[in-house]
């Protein structure tokens, strides 16, 4: 399975964020997008998550141009993708309900109503996968707590579990650890590698180059309005082909 952006340009109003960008991710690999803040990493991830259609170029899933498909088909594609934002963005609900959200929206309405009634009388059916995902991030013991009682790091781990619970083929992470302490960062990075080993394709947008080195099989460098290079992580860091990449990695580039 491959999610691919081909020659994509996008902007807001008259402002172009990037122009002619191509990037792909396949199941079972981790791709990092590195670049300074504000360069458009989040915008690229939103395009890959099928939030918006690109101004030009194509987003395809397994060779199907997604934006040429009817909305129902696009929803099927969207449901094979998970996303974690920089901000945990948890719902005002219990940890279990947050983690099970993706599973719930995939149920038919009669099932959802039946589970809703079951929960009213205290039964917690059909949330096994959510609890399993919470175990991956070490928070299975917090399953019945309110989400707003969690620390920032725990909340982000729940957000990760929420995206993992419905077993996506592709997982998109937008600066998932930028506000976290080293311990929580390590938990998330470990979960990323576990997800890859389970065959999930992961894209991590980050400005933390060390993180890219730690988790990514391939790295794309987004600078200015283009991807300067994308290749195996060691090659990009140890032998950058573009001079601006080298300057960015060495911290010499002023932006």
């Amino acid at each position: 399975m491959t999610l691919e952006a081909t020659d994509v340009s996008h902007g807001y109003g008259n402002e172009t964020v990037f122009d002619g960008v191509s990037l792909s991710v396949s199941t079972g690999e981790v791709v990092a997008i590195i670049g300074p803040s504000g360069v458009g990493k989040s915008t690229l991830l939103r395009l890959l998550a099928l939030f918006d259609a690109p101004d030009r170029g194509t987003i395809s899933y397994d060779g199907e141009d997604v934006w040429r498909q009817p909305e129902g088909r696009r929803l099927e594609h969207r449901r094979r993708i998970g996303m974690v934002f920089q901000d945990a963005s948890l719902f005002d609900a219990s940890v279990r309900r947050n983690a099970a959200y993706g599973l719930r929206v995939r149920q038919s309405w009669p099932e959802r109503i039946r589970h809703g009634f079951a929960q009213l009388v205290g039964e917690q059916n059909g949330t096994g996968d959510a609890v399993e995902a919470l175990e991956t991030v070490g928070l299975a013991d917090k399953v019945d707590q309110d989400a707003d009682s969690l620390s920032g790091g725990e909340a982000q781990r729940v957000a990760f579990a929420r995206a993992l619970a419905y077993d996506p083929e592709i997982l998109l992470l937008d600066e998932p650890t930028s506000d976290l302490d080293p311990r929580n960062t390590a938990v998330i990075e470990d979960a990323v590698l576990q997800a890859r080993d389970r065959g999930i394709g992961v894209v991590v947008a980050t400005h933390d180059m060390h993180q890219a080195r730690r988790v990514a099989d391939r790295t794309a460098v987004l600078l200015g309005d283009e991807i300067l290079e994308v290749d195996r992580t060691e090659r990009v860091f140890d032998d950058p082909r573009d001079d601006r990449t080298r300057q960015f990695i060495d911290g010499e580039l002023i932006y």
């Binding site: 449901r79 996303m83 901000d87 719902f91 609900a93 219990s94 995939r106 707003d148 929420r162």
Partner: protein
Amino acid sequence: MSLESAATVPLFAEFPFEWNYIRSIIVVSLYVSVAAVALSTLCSLPIALAVGFTDFRGKGLLTSIINTGMGFPSVVVGLAVLFTVSNEGPLGSLELVFTREAMIMSQFVLAAPVVTGVSLAAVSSVEQNVRDAAYAMGGTRLDVALVTIKEARYGIATAVLAGFGRAISEVGSVLIVGGNIASADGTSKTRTLTTAIQLEAQRGRFETAMILGVVLLAIVLVVNGIVVRLGSDGGGYR
């Protein structure tokens, strides 16, 4: 005042009110206000969600109109509804003049902008990130709307309460379209707590007016208490 003269003051139990009369007034008041607010909520929530979710030209103007609607003078609304349901009006054939249904219509017009305006503020305060998260997890637009309603539930409950408060404590329009009528058996037909208080005070039956006033206050307090309880429940739906 001597003890003898104090003993001649009428006791509470001797006040000239009739329970059946008061009970029927409470029933009519609750029926009309609850029906009006339920209808307002059904109409207002989709409007609040649609306006809150989308950007379009004239959004600011529409929001201003909704907010202006919160301050509609009730007698003017009553007059407009009375014209609408009168024989010459567009709904004249339905013969709704001086009926509870006409009162529901007028209270609907008064409550709907309040429910819409306060709901819109509540819905707009739900962070874009949370809506994005629902969408990114595979939610449809309906799922995102449901998440938004759940996130804004306390604000929406407040909106419904505010609409109910506006409806049940309003006197001008229900007086005009309902006529403050009691049936031949002495029970209320279109008489509400507010119009009855006005009438009883005019008649000089202050004790009955006071009882009705206390009942009205109690209803508003109970509804308010329920909403505060909802809001302080830890907020979480499990």
